[in-house]
Structures are given as C-alpha cells and as structure tokens.
C-alpha cells in the first residue's frame, strides 16, 4: 500500500468521524491544530484506522502521531 493510499484511507476516516474535508487532509497537517480533531475524536480515528488497515496502534504511540504524515509512516511500517 502506497503512502498516498494510506493518506486517502485516513482522509475517509477523518471525514466519517470528524467531518474533515478530504481536500484538507495532507501529510503535513496536524490533527489537532490544522484539522480540528479533538482528543475524543482522535481515539475514534485510531480505532477506525486499526480496523481499516489491520494494524495495531498502541495507546502510548498515539501521542506521537501529531500529523497525518506521522500516522501514515506508522501504518506503513506496521503493515
């Protein structure tokens, strides 16, 4: 799976969970500051991403996922 495909998958989740427009999602965007995803919604995003990509994202890893790119890198490695 390419980084673009993972980004697109995350964008679909962000739209579903937090109403973030797909056009706004890019690797350099911060979840909380740029995309306005609050901490509870971030929990939902993580769980949905685990399901979608069949990976495990440990709770203590979540705090390191500041940007979309951070999440893409983590998922890419975990796949």
């Amino acid at each position: 799976m390419t980084r673009e495909e993972i980004t697109a998958g995350l964008a679909a989740i962000l739209d579903e969970v937090a109403g973030v427009s797909k056009d706004d999602v890019a690797e350099d965007k911060s979840f909380t500051e740029d995309l306005d995803v609050d901490s509870l919604s971030m929990v939902e995003v993580v769980v949905a991403a685990e399901e979608k990509f069949s990976v495990k994202i440990p709770d203590d890893e979540v705090q390191n996922l500041k940007t979309v790119g951070d999440a893409v890198s983590f998922i890419e490695k975990a796949l």
């Binding site: 969970v17 937090a18 109403g19 509870l40 919604s41 929990v43 939902e44 769980v47």
Partner: protein
C-alpha cells in the same frame, strides 16, 4: 411566594406528527395518527410491533458528524430547543447568559447509546467502545447540550420522573423564575427509546397495546377497546420567561404558566393509586398555586395513555377536582406516549389550544368506557373559548404533575 409572573414565549418540538410545532399542531387538529408498524427486523418477535416514530429523522435537519456524538434523545432535544429559542426571538440576543437556565429531562435517557455500545463491547471488545459513550448516555446529556448550545449559565437541570418528566421540568422552570434564580428557563422533555428492550419490557408488564394489525387505531384513551399505550418518541421544549422581562423586550407571549401542582402517591412503583388521590391533590395544588377557580378551567389535556386502569383513575381525579364542565382531550391517541417528553409536548398542545380557542381531538374514542362521564372532544377538534387549561402528567414511581396555563 414571589409575585413574578411567568409566561411562555417560545415553543419547539419534533414529534411523530411533525418535525416542528406548526406541523405537529396542524396534524393534531386534523386528527392524524403518528403510529405505524415497526418494519425493522428486530421487531418481528415482539408482542407489540407498533410505535409512533419521529416524522422527521434528525439526520434530515442535523449535521452528520454532530449526530455521531449525540444520543438520539439529545439530538431531538437540541432540535426542539433551537426551534423554541428562535421562536422566542432570542437568536439575536435578548437574554443574559447568567440569567438563563435549562430544565429538561428524559424518562429513560441514553438507552439506545447504552445498548448499541454494549453490542460493540460484546462483539469487538472494550477498545471499540466509543469515547463519546458516557456523555451520550448520561441522563443530563440532553439538558447539558441545550445549555451549552444556548449559553445557559444559571444552571442546567435534568428532571427524571418517568412519564411526568417533561411536565416536572416545566414546573421546575416556573419555580426557578419565581424564586429569582433565572429570567428565562428553557424547559421540556425528550425521549427516544424505540428499541426492542423497552418494547419487550413494557410488553411483559402488559402495559402496551398489541393491536399490531391496526396501528393507527391502537392508541385509544378511554375507549372500551383500549389495551395499553403505544410507545412514541420525540421532544418538546418551551421558553419560559419572567413576564416583565418578556414585556421589556417586546416578546410575543403565547400564554401564562399560572401554576403547578406536584405530588407523589407513595403507593406503588408502577400502579397509580386506585382512587387517584395523588393525581387529584396535584390538580388541586395547581389550582391553588395559580389562584384559579375550577370553573374557569375550560379544557384539560389529560395524561390518558390508553391503559385499561390509568385512564379511568384520572377521570375520577378530574371529576373530583374540576367538576364536569371542562372539555377533555387525550392527544396521545395521535402521538403515542412520548414518556419523558409527553408532559412537555402536551403542554405545548394545551398552550396552542388556549391561543387558537380549539381543543384537539381524541381519536379512536369509538366506544367510550362506561365510567367516562366527562366531555371529551372525540374524533374531531372542537372550537372552545379557553381562558385557562390544565395539563396532567403522571409517571411510574407515583409522580403526579399538573400544570395550569392561562390566556396571556
């Protein structure tokens, strides 16, 4: 007792008859039933497969992402509260947040969230449970969301008195304004529990109609053929306001909330007292509180849920306290029983009856019970001059609430 007069300046509702007050009222006056057959697969095994579902789904009027974080009972409370707020002319200002309160309850609360998340817990484990679960299921959730949305800082209160909840929330709002704790109180009730569990529970206690073949004829208060209530869902909210506050901002006034009476049966957890003692005392207290003579009460929107026992006990209580002159109606014949929202929605119907000088009909009253010796507006709406009207609500637990509204 303080001398603050309290008036109603805004109304909001989403019900089985319509997505707002105007459409609900129009359907009520036309005698339309909001009851239908439950077509969901889960309903197949239930003894009662009928209910009065919302006429307008929340998803038609509310943002998808917002809805994900709200229990259905919270979403519809917000829809009704926003309508009432706009109707009161308060959207562009006119209220001081520190003098604005909310009094809004639910009979059962966020049950659909609770059960849905329990399904997820069982099927997929604790990590899959939504982080929004607790604020979605807590019983103060609807009141709190309304308070946050309208910026109410004088207190947010969530009544819980089963089917008397909506009326008790209104009575509490009256008290708050009289006591000087708020200038405006957004008050009402909400309920959304059309789900197999409560339907099964009400059915095994033999409280529900099983007239599955004739859904629109199933809710038939005071009729000999009545066999239980029909579950409904919806929300009703009103803006209560100190009369001089409303006058100062030039607000349109629907009616005056002149008084309230509340008692508790202290008798049984589900059965009403057989002589309606608590109900009669609540009515008498409302009359005294409003300083209104029984003879001036021209109309009663009764609790009358279509259960064999409860309907006639209320008749006894009404005859004893008011006499035989008021024109009664049971709008649950059309809306079904909205449990914690019933008292709020029926108060709205009572207020509009006063405003429009018309009593909405009690449909399905084809063969009146032998004990029904009071005048009911059966089948069709009836023109009537209404200087004062009463709304009754009674709830499991023995809660009795009577609200008295008068012409502004």
């Amino acid at each position: 007792m303080s001398t603050h007069e309290v008036v109603v300046t805004g109304l909001g509702a989403t019900t089985p008859l319509g997505g707002d007050v105007a459409s609900t009222w129009e359907a009520m006056l036309a005698g339309r039933s909001g009851v239908g057959v439950l077509t969901q697969e889960w309903a197949e095994q239930l003894p009662a497969r009928i209910a009065a579902e919302l006429a307008v789904e929340p998803s038609e009027v509310m943002d998808r992402v917002r809805l994900r974080r709200l229990d259905r009972s919270e979403a519809i409370a917000l829809i009704a509260a926003n309508e009432a707020w706009a109707d009161a002319g308060l959207v562009d200002g006119g209220s001081d947040p520190e003098r604005l309160a909310v009094s809004l309850g639910s009979g059962i609360g966020g049950l659909q969230t609770l059960l849905h998340q329990d399904d997820i817990l069982e099927a997929s484990g604790p990590r899959r449970v939504s982080p929004h679960t607790v604020p979605m299921l807590m019983p103060n959730g609807p009141a709190a969301h309304v308070g946050i949305t309208l910026n109410a800082q004088a207190g947010v209160h969530a009544m819980a008195s089963a089917c008397a909840t909506g009326a008790e929330a209104v009575a509490w709002g009256l008290d708050m304004i009289r006591a000087g704790r708020a200038d405006i109180v957004v008050a009402g009730g909400t309920e959304a529990v059309i789900h197999p569990l409560p339907l099964a529970g009400f059915a095994t206690m033999r409280a529900m109609s099983t007239r599955n073949d004739e859904p629109q004829r199933a809710s038939r208060p005071w009729d000999k053929g009545r066999d239980g209530f029909v579950l409904g869902e919806g929300a009703g909210v009103m803006v209560l306001e100190r009369a001089d506050h409303a006058a100062a901002r030039g607000a349109r006034v629907y009616a005056r909330l002149a008084g309230a009476g509340m008692t508790s049966d202290a008798f049984d957890i589900v059965q009403p007292h057989p002589d309606g003692v608590g109900a009669a005392k609540a009515i008498a207290k409302a009359l005294a509180d409003a300083d209104i003579a029984a003879v001036d009460v021209a109309h009663v929107n009764a609790h009358a849920t279509s259960t064999p026992i409860g309907d006639m006990i209320e008749i006894k209580a009404l005859r004893r306290t008011l006499g035989s002159h008021p024109v009664l109606t049971a709008t649950k014949s059309m809306t079904g029983h909205l449990l914690g929202a019933a008292g709020a929605l029926e108060s709205i119907a009572t207020i509009l009856a006063i405003r429009d000088s018309i009593v909405p009909p009690t449909i399905n009253l084809d063969d009146p019970d032998d004990g029904l010796d009071l005048d009911v507006a059966a089948h069709t709406a009836r023109r009537l001059d209404i200087p004062a009207a009463l709304n009754n609500s009674f709830g499991f637990g023995g809660h009795n609430v009577a609200l008295l509204f008068t012409r502004a």
